[in-house]
Assembly symmetry: D2
Homo-oligomer: 398 residues x 4
Amino acid sequence: MSLAHGVSYLAIPGPSVTPERVLRAMHRTSPNIYEGALPAMMPALVASLKAVARTEHNVTIYITNGHGAWEAALTNTLSRGDRILVPATGRFSHGWAEIARVLGVEVDIMDFGKRDPIDMAALTERLKTDDRGYKAVLAVHTDTSTSLRTDIPAVRAAIDAAGHPALLMVDCMASLGCDRFEMDAWGVDVMLAGSQKGLMTPPGLAFVWFNDKADRARDTANCVTWAWDWRPRAFPKIFSNYFGGTAPTLHLHGLREALDMIEEEGLENVWSRHASLARAVWAAAEHWGTEGTLELNVRQRELRGHSVTAFRAGSERATALRRWCEDKAGLTLGIGLGMTEPDDPAWHHFFRLGHMGHVSAQMILGALATMEAGMKAVGLPHAPGGVVKAAEVIAAEA
Amino acid sequence: MSLAHGVSYLAIPGPSVTPERVLRAMHRTSPNIYEGALPAMMPALVASLKAVARTEHNVTIYITNGHGAWEAALTNTLSRGDRILVPATGRFSHGWAEIARVLGVEVDIMDFGKRDPIDMAALTERLKTDDRGYKAVLAVHTDTSTSLRTDIPAVRAAIDAAGHPALLMVDCMASLGCDRFEMDAWGVDVMLAGSQKGLMTPPGLAFVWFNDKADRARDTANCVTWAWDWRPRAFPKIFSNYFGGTAPTLHLHGLREALDMIEEEGLENVWSRHASLARAVWAAAEHWGTEGTLELNVRQRELRGHSVTAFRAGSERATALRRWCEDKAGLTLGIGLGMTEPDDPAWHHFFRLGHMGHVSAQMILGALATMEAGMKAVGLPHAPGGVVKAAEVIAAEA
Amino acid sequence: MSLAHGVSYLAIPGPSVTPERVLRAMHRTSPNIYEGALPAMMPALVASLKAVARTEHNVTIYITNGHGAWEAALTNTLSRGDRILVPATGRFSHGWAEIARVLGVEVDIMDFGKRDPIDMAALTERLKTDDRGYKAVLAVHTDTSTSLRTDIPAVRAAIDAAGHPALLMVDCMASLGCDRFEMDAWGVDVMLAGSQKGLMTPPGLAFVWFNDKADRARDTANCVTWAWDWRPRAFPKIFSNYFGGTAPTLHLHGLREALDMIEEEGLENVWSRHASLARAVWAAAEHWGTEGTLELNVRQRELRGHSVTAFRAGSERATALRRWCEDKAGLTLGIGLGMTEPDDPAWHHFFRLGHMGHVSAQMILGALATMEAGMKAVGLPHAPGGVVKAAEVIAAEA
Amino acid sequence: MSLAHGVSYLAIPGPSVTPERVLRAMHRTSPNIYEGALPAMMPALVASLKAVARTEHNVTIYITNGHGAWEAALTNTLSRGDRILVPATGRFSHGWAEIARVLGVEVDIMDFGKRDPIDMAALTERLKTDDRGYKAVLAVHTDTSTSLRTDIPAVRAAIDAAGHPALLMVDCMASLGCDRFEMDAWGVDVMLAGSQKGLMTPPGLAFVWFNDKADRARDTANCVTWAWDWRPRAFPKIFSNYFGGTAPTLHLHGLREALDMIEEEGLENVWSRHASLARAVWAAAEHWGTEGTLELNVRQRELRGHSVTAFRAGSERATALRRWCEDKAGLTLGIGLGMTEPDDPAWHHFFRLGHMGHVSAQMILGALATMEAGMKAVGLPHAPGGVVKAAEVIAAEA
């Protein structure tokens, strides 16, 4: 017998749970891509995409995933041989850097490990003494692997303190539509995200927002290809320019619905909801950790993202916990990513809980209570009652 | 701000949560109702319906809801002026009786209140001394309003002990596909249920199963109408006989998928899952009740149904709890039904949790944790930690 | 090889093609049936149902098919032993009469065959000399089997000319939302229809509209049962009254969308569209019939319904034509119904084309061109070029 | 009034009509992308993709549209400064060439206009005398704008006749799954197509097939980026390699269903169906053109693709025809593409009919009959009766 038969909760850190409304909006045969309702919906869609990033500048919609958006952001702003600086807070910083290297860009990494934030003073110092001419600083807002959240205004301040002209490019894959992010107010030049996390739309679209300074870099960038060129896409003359060919028709309808949901709830409310749910997760986890070896990967609350939480089990029972939750109770947790190699036994120490996008209190409480049941079932030592602590947070904040 | 944005869990005692698979199966334009795949699917569908009721006898599919099935069961077996006996365990016993009265049937009720089981000895005694010629005894397996579960084999035994020829007719609306039910082995003559609870299909179909003894009663029943006549429907010559006209095309596809899900899981496993989840609910509730006034409506575990649980808050805070759970956390609990009139302030003392059909451990734990948060938020006194007790049950039984 | 792979067109006379919008609206897990959006949608839904029937009186929504609606209309107005008069224009007149007989009503039929209209003078004469006390006259607006359309205002006039008090009850199953129908202006007392034809919603709902005179008949009707009683359903105190129990949740959402579609197009425009498409069908058929034996069942245009057309092939090739169209070309025609018994070889002389609800010019032209190809393929003699005549009608009227 | 209310037929040359089965398969919340059913489905999906291209070599699935596939094919095989030869048969040849130029590839075009095939002798001659070292010859199987179909085996023969080592790269966007195509037997080194035409899946995926010779070119290609690199995608170690990050979950389910449909019908049958439907289109058009100025863009039948047909109206009435068909009858025709600039009045001379993928005889006949009605309505001179000629083809070939 299994108790997993029911609505499954996919609590991996992306793709997130697709709302019924979004799927419904996507259930339609292909529309005309030359005239009519589909082209007509674009201006409002672009406006909503800018609003969710808190920018009045530009946005490009790509038919790709997050890795494609990384490449798009780089190719529109850099040339082969350019140098960039990557203050790294997890696997996704390194992943983005790797894509830059393939393009022929030289990358310097300041590695802050997997649990600690960027040392802003060190960043300023590095930029002050820059003799390599960094064209850009790449930061990841919330690293999906570590769940560490970078203080983007502080990065901006660190660059400004050095008086350095580098572009600030930020990966908000895991955070957009979850954690507060204000592109213009925070001085971010380029930002990217995908459809499938906070934006609640199935995988298949990714977005690059850029301001005018970034667009000037496009003038000289020599490795942009036809497919990634943001100029025709962000400043289209006809509908097909948006996508450099055939539009991703279904996803546009899904995205429209998802952005409607965000606008109906209110972006500030969306952020507050994610914050409260994150605090509920932390309350549970911190309580569990008062006995045994379980702990959160990020020690300080102010450094934790609101959309994903990385756990360290302190033993190899993490994998057993994930299996139990999925097979026995209908909850799919995320694997630990980037903490170790998959063939290292330590790989089984890590797991993650995604709490991004279409997530309510009852879903998060269900996930936490299931985890508590699972820890008991698989013998992962912990202090019982974490879910009660979470419920207290929810009771106080809802 | 609200923490309700996400996948809502409709935890009322029916309609239950519709599985994604069932909805997907129903998303199709109307098929040919004269030839082809739709008529061809009927024999297997009928076989699956019989299997889920553990009978080798007959079944009729009606386009109606549960109240229609009540009428169908009565009209095929009774005549105006006939007498029946209803040992009542909640609102739904009385509801069925009322429909019989409208048909011109005389009804005697033995009322066992809202929390207590049928007194089997008293039932035998009544039947032994029957001078009114009861044609049928009507029992409700699990009363959706009280969540009291009647011991159907014991009812059969009580009738047999009296040597009485009355038909045993059982309402399994709330229990079929959740609690063990064995129509043939238990000696049930007529049984009815709907699509929208344990059978996981949206409201719109209801079913009446009947054995040959019941069918013989059809020979003389004088109040059966064309629309309810089970003969052509259960023994069809052509496809349209099944439904006395146009078939409920979408629902048949949904029902097929739902029965496939039950068969894939295994009916015994489905029953075990509901039993474990019910024990988790009870563990939470019994713990909460160790402080304050909250209690389960049915005091003894063996009398509680496995698909729905009726709560008594002991104060008017039940309605506040329901509202909080729905508005703040994404969980919809059921109203108390049949405990009091809606305009009685005591109406706000009652609520119910449905745990029928497509329900997993993480859903139930999420519901319980949300209820615990809600009780704290609205000030409904309780012993905190009930959800931990539930998690322990899940850990032990999954 | 088959040329049938593609979007199939189910051109049987009901269920009609379900619009994508309607299916999309129905793709949702069950909602709360006690509070919230579902109960709130009812007043507007009822208003739209009245509007589509052009009445300011009352309407009941039943979870049933058309045969159930027949029974509902009869039971709310008649008593066992009452007498009614049925001027019959096809199989469905006889079907409705049969249901009345099962209820214990005495039925007199004036049979006008399968191709001819009611003789209104004869009807008046019969009513003038009525010594049986007819309580109701039952008429079918468009008989789905013959496609003959009855002039309902003329029936009203015939009754009035006799000064007879009988209720006028009309079956609009095949015509509502297709042919002009004005319940109040035409003096119709009771009207019924289903969801699955002109109302473009999958089978599963049927409706009975009734005026105050009909409702007064309810006072004395002695064969109404709980399930069919229109009083609580049409004049509900609480939401569950509408459906005498659990609501047909999915269908209500589908029906809402379908009625929105009708209102967006405009009911007069819907009627005009059906009229033009019917004229296109007739133009093709009349042309085909200038050679060979094919002819339309109804000889005079003004007697033909706008939603379905019954054909007489004049040979047994009709069945071959249907098979070819379905297997080879993706078009499903309707079988001939009620013209002969299925085991009579003449059964293969008849077929029907449904053109009701969600039908456009390109669908109808596609059906006609396919029929023309099929007649050629199976050797059913005809004058080629009927589809060109149909295209001319479309060109002139669109 | 409009006769367009009904199932719309989007008869543009892509995206094609999405089958109900495909949409149904895509209606599901996001699945786990790390383990389980989604990763497990990949080997069979890849095998089906190879089968539909008649190759035993390799295939890459990209989250992109056709233009992205163009770039992918080029970047994996070429380096900046390389030279290629493009024998052009329409706009899409030029489009592909333009993308190569943006990559820094030097492109020589042999332009054969918009109505005429490649001159194979001239191609051989050019390659024999090649002093520029062409690395590749780019051919478009069916050009979507002109509907001219290139004889790919003849191109192969022309290259071989010159003894030239250039890669043969073929764009099958408009033809794959419609016209016969045998990658291995025909000696094609690289082939590309998208999801949204013959493969019946909504826009969002595109594919590049390549043989080992092409893969050897990858060794030295210096402009491949991380996102387009086919090596990890075609030879993945783990599931995420297939897509270089997050998988396009919904589209994979849709594609699986579409490939199942092709396999159930049989690829040879799919090709035969498209061939018959194309002949029906041509029969109608050739007949219409016996009066007035309407003609098919491609004069010789053996040069016409089976999935799209480009029309030349010979007057500006083509746009009026398209508008009438869409607004009045529910048929959306394709605009003329690449024949002239949109601001040239001659732009209104052209239109196209797509007949690719999920298309049946009744759909095509409906489109043709609607076009005939439309030509009459808008005054586009033609010989009436083309649709009858088409019906004759269907009757003979179905």
